[in-house]
């Protein structure tokens, strides 16, 4: 069992010390990580190298250095592996003159699916595109095109699904539908890799996060574990109490408290040990007869974690 959070047991996709440069620009730098069953969110600001990484995973572009294995092989030289890989690229990637049905059927044909009509109909139903399936893609909104692309990627029932910003252009209803779909596919044991720069989306979709900043692997694991690993950054906790100033003064005497601030009657405490603070605050509050009505970490969300990861950007 691996202890490196960037690696998983039983990986379907492996990246080993992968670097990609375009001329003088390094897009991805010495990334080692792996992906397995479940949904992994590939997180990073725009330009961080997410798309380059996904393109390398699918074999669309070659790494300048390092090795990539998808189901044990490098796809460029073993195209049969694509029978088990579905990609939803960020760019258009649709034929405007085709209807969604013919586009998805074309994908099924190229993938060697036996029951073309059945598989096409199921894929259309999966993304809830039924009413519009016989309209030309040229007339589709961006969100509808995204769903058509997802259907085309799913039509061959792939074991691995790679999605580059798949929720771009979708409305809230479509977004919820797709998020639930990706979660369900992950729960079925498929490898689902979803890139996004929208933290909320990643948090809702992913069991695990790989964060990329400036082409480098900045963090990996589940969000709480990543936050726990940031030992050099104290937790910030909001404490709701009827005696914020008295409690703040008392807590400053505690060695586990790095700092306090009272803002609009709310107490904010910084600590390196969140669990110990959680045990200590009620004890101290009882000593000074203060009433605690709330105790909430303010920076354990993915957004806070990500803000720390990207630093001053």
């Amino acid at each position: 069992m691996t202890t490196n959070p960037a690696l998983v047991d039983s990986p379907t996709i492996e990246m080993d010390d992968v670097t990609k440069w375009f001329g003088q620009k390094v897009a991805v730098s010495n990334v080692t990580c792996s992906f397995g069953s479940g949904v992994t969110g590939l997180l990073g600001p725009n330009g961080a190298g997410k798309t380059t990484m996904l393109r390398m995973l699918t074999g669309l572009i070659r790494p300048s250095q390092g090795k990539i294995r998808v189901l044990g092989v490098w796809p460029r030289t073993s195209p049969k592996v694509y029978a088990n890989v579905g990609l939803v690229p960020e760019e258009a990637a649709v034929y405007p003159s085709m209807t969604a049905r013919s586009y998805i059927r074309y994908a099924a044909t190229l993938a060697g699916v036996d029951d073309l009509d059945g598989a096409t109909a199921r894929a259309i139903e999966t993304v809830a595109l039924g009413d519009a399936a016989d309209r030309k893609l040229a007339g589709y909104s961006k969100g509808m095109r995204q769903r058509a692309k997802v259907a085309a990627a799913l039509v061959a029932d792939p074991q691995i699904l790679i999605l580059d910003e798949p929720l771009n252009g979708t409305d809230p209803v479509q977004r919820l539908h797709l998020i639930n779909l990706f979660r369900r596919l992950g729960d079925e044991g498929r490898t689902v890799v979803v890139s996004s720069h929208v933290l909320d989306e990643v948090e809702r979709m992913s069991d695990r996060v790989i964060a990329i900043v400036d082409g480098r692997l900045a963090a990996a694991g589940d969000v709480a574990a990543i936050r726990r690993a940031m030992t050099d950054i104290p937790y910030r906790v909001r404490v709701d109490t009827d005696k914020p100033r008295v409690l703040a003064a008392r807590l400053l005497e505690e060695s586990l408290v790095h700092g306090v601030a009272v803002d609009d009657g709310t107490l904010h405490v910084e600590t390196g040990d969140l669990a110990a603070l959680g045990r200590r605050v009620p004890v101290v509050a009882r000593e000074i007869d203060a009433r605690i009505t709330g105790f909430r970490p303010e920076d354990a969300s993915l957004e806070s974690v990500f803000r720390y990861l990207v630093g001053g950007r």
Binding site: L60, P79, Y82, P89, V94, Y95, G112
Partner: protein, 245 residues
């Protein structure tokens, strides 16, 4: 097969079919329109003037290069290349299907142009023997252009400009001046085919249009097959080795 048929629809949508269909008929229309004005000139000379002045050196190359350059070039520009190549299909099959799809469309249009020109010449003279050879000449030249421009369309967005420079400057300029280079001119391979298969009177008259020293039909077919095979090989190599996004 699916890639071939999709490529055919892709390179020849409805609008292009109308535009290029009309363009293909241009030599026949010009021949018709000039038949009154140049009534004193022999019909065969006017016909061959159209063949070596408009149909083979201009119409066939331009139709062929514009359509074939889009076969892979449009996939790359429109971002659909990833849809195509991330499939459990050997890259050689993808390359072969793209070249074949473009070649079928180009051949059909060039055959239409050659057939129409041969038809109006036949209607005027009652001589039909040049029609099929002319269609085959257009098809052969079109296949060679397709083989050249399908991979070029992948390499550069300016494939059509590069193709026009090749046709107008190299083929119709340099090669015309240096006849030793004629083997490097695709439309002259079409002319060889036409010359080899046309009736003797036509072949003899072609000599007056500087079309002497042409290779035989068998040699032309051999060269065409070699160029097409090299094109598919090069396209396969490109799809295997180059970054595709």
């Amino acid at each position: 097969m699916a890639i071939t048929t999709t490529t055919m629809r892709q390179v020849l949508g409805l609008r292009r079919a109308v535009i290029f269909g009309l363009a293909a008929l241009a030599p026949a229309l010009v021949f018709l329109l000039t038949s009154q004005a140049l009534a004193d000139e022999a019909a065969l000379d006017r016909f061959l003037g159209m063949v070596v002045g408009l149909y083979l050196p201009l119409l066939v190359p331009i139709v062929s290069l514009i359509l074939s350059a889009s076969a892979l070039g449009d996939e790359r520009r429109d971002g659909t290349l990833s849809f195509l190549v991330l499939r459990p299909i050997p890259r050689s099959v993808i390359a072969g299907s793209k070249v074949l799809g473009a070649a079928i469309v180009v051949s059909a249009l060039n055959a239409l142009g050659g057939g129409a020109l041969g038809l109006v010449y036949g209607l005027e003279t009652g001589s039909w023997g040049a029609t099929v050879p002319l269609m085959l000449g257009g098809i052969i030249a079109g296949i060679v252009y397709t083989a050249l421009f399908v991979p070029l369309g992948f390499f550069t967005d300016r494939a059509v400009l590069a193709g026009l420079a090749f046709v107008l400057v190299f083929e119709n300029g340099v090669v015309s001046a240096l006849s030793g280079l004629s083997a490097l001119s695709p439309w002259r391979l079409g002319l060889s085919t036409f010359s080899s298969l046309a009736p003797d009177a036509v072949t003899t008259a072609l000599g007056d249009f500087g079309a002497a020293d042409l290779s035989g039909f068998g040699s032309t077919i051999g060269r065409t097959i070699i160029v097409a095979a090299l094109s598919i090989g090069l396209t396969t190599l490109v799809l295997r080795k180059r970054d595709l996004a």
